[in-house]
Symmetry: C2
Subunit: 318 residues, 2 copies
């Protein structure tokens, strides 16, 4: 498989949630050839297009190309996976019609172990992972409020970034997304867990609170730090050194975010799937597999699982 990448790639975006709409709109606005695969909100997207609001701009796209099945789209040069990992079972039927011999599949999914299911279908050499540092929320079909456009880091699955990964990073930059290609995707994923594990998790377990409430509580702040230390210790065993300054940085960064509702909390409260296994379960299993005790992360994992299971209980029992 060649690593060349066309100047004007044919792009499919799977999923029209907050991420699919936001990043897709950026690409459309930059003049790229974008084909959205949307299921539930398709009629609304076809009729009204996309409306994106960021702190500095508004993107209104009246007309976008939305499809109900991947067969209608056909093979693409770049497939952007913007559904949640909890829906990955459906990829077995969704992905194949989009794949050609040189298709790159870029997964925007959170957590650990999200490239593997894609690699099984598309082949490991086709998979690129993206880590999105972004704060955005879909308020209606095609309508996204992006409070923090942030940045994106991408890397090839299991290998250093090659020509194509760099070309895709450049494509994002042309579209106004701060994006860099990195050589160690796995290390980047562990870095992102340092924030996601404590803040997404504690926001749920502490009873549905925003990050400022967590930071204002001495116990929660200390617990967040202990959870980060467990992740740092586990990552180190896998050869990914995360400096102490990176841990400190998370607190500084979060303090500036105000009353931020982490995405997993929004998912939890809206009754949607939460990426429990990708953000908490898989890191716990990997840490334990190399002999690192992660008692707090495991406890958090169990508590979140229980809270999610409890949503199905009759009201009086939870």
């Amino acid at each position: 498989m060649s690593t060349s990448f066309p100047d004007k790639p044919r792009i499919a975006i799977i999923g029209t949630g907050a991420l699919g709409c936001y990043y897709g709109a950026r690409l459309v606005k930059a003049g790229e050839d974008v084909h959205f695969l949307g299921r539930s909100g398709r009629a609304a997207l076809t009729a009204r297009g996309l409306k994106i609001k960021t702190p500095t701009e508004r993107i209104n796209l009246r007309k976008i190309q939305v499809y109900g099945s991947s067969a209608e789209i056909g093979p693409c040069d770049l497939v952007i996976l913007a559904t949640k990992a909890t829906a990955n079972e459906a990829l077995k039927t969704i992905l194949p019609p989009l794949l050609g011999p040189e298709t790159a599949v870029l997964t925007l999914q959170n957590g650990l172990g999200v490239e593997e299911p894609v690699a099984e279908i598309a082949g490991p050499g086709h998979v690129i992972g993206a880590i999105c540092y972004i704060g955005c929320m879909r308020t209606a079909p095609g309508v996204v409020d992006c409070s923090f456009p942030g940045l994106m880091t991408i890397g090839k699955f299991g290998k250093p970034a090659g020509e194509r990964t760099n070309a895709i990073a450049a494509l994002w930059r042309r579209a106004g997304v701060k994006c860099t290609a990195q050589d160690n995707l796995e290390a980047q994923r562990w870095h992102k867990l340092v924030w996601n594990v404590p803040f997404n998790g504690l926001a749920i377990v502490a009873g549905g609170v925003t990050t400022d409430v967590l930071l204002a509580d001495e116990g929660m702040k200390l617990l967040a730090r202990r959870l980060m230390e467990e992740i740092v210790e586990a990552a180190a065993k896998f050869g990914h050194e995360i400096p102490r300054s990176f841990v400190d940085l998370q607190f500084e960064r979060t303090a500036k975010m105000g009353d931020y509702r982490p995405s997993s909390l929004i998912d939890f409260e809206e009754g949607r799937d939460v990426e429990i296994e990708e953000i908490w379960g898989e890191p716990v299993r990997r840490a334990k597999s190399v002999g690192v005790a992660v008692p707090r992360m495991e406890m958090l994992y169990w508590l979140i699982k229980q809270r999610i299971a409890a949503r199905k209980l009759p009201k009086k029992r939870r």
Copy 2:
């Protein structure tokens, strides 16, 4: 101070919550000389007395002696402390009028470190601790539903049981309370924590669930066991050996309790004080003071504290 104890002791009961009413009613029914100190529900208790329901009997006492201040009661032979440890600040004014040179103060309070504040006021030689294995709930002033009368273990503070401790245990048995005097009160308190720490705590943190819900969840069940193991390890450092079979027994016992709401959960949900420091904070501090890491118990402690603090937040923020 002598360790003799009169055949017909003058008894004061501080607190007319579930425990004060239940145990007090037992003593009154057995013909003992009981003086209740009740604050908020005093008028109702004076007017209507006590109504106790257990699985096997009903105790209705039309007339009981209720007082609004300890000065009206005066010195007693036995003072039974049935308020919560969270209200111990008030003991400095409540206790002294009840104390004579040979008064025994029996505290029914939960957790670790509950004898010390009493000892500071009454003197250590006067303090006896009780560990109550009981399930009961006050449904109205003077009205108690006791689903599980259970048993009581008492012991002298910091010393083996003496003549007086044995006499008080005998008093309870005459009143129909299964009671034994034990030589090592502290060891008994650690034993009780084995149940209280996980089940009282997780019932709150898991979102307000009954014990059957906790036992039905594999993660919560495993977490309860890990918490118990932390307590067993800490207790061992203090010389209190808790056998593995005791841990197993807690699960068997709890399975029989059905949809039981632990007392701390009831307190939490009713907006009342929860004995956070006595059940979780003090055990964590003591374990760490002897070098035992108790990461899960500490995390549970922090989470409960946060949940309780969050009750004061405006609704939309928690």
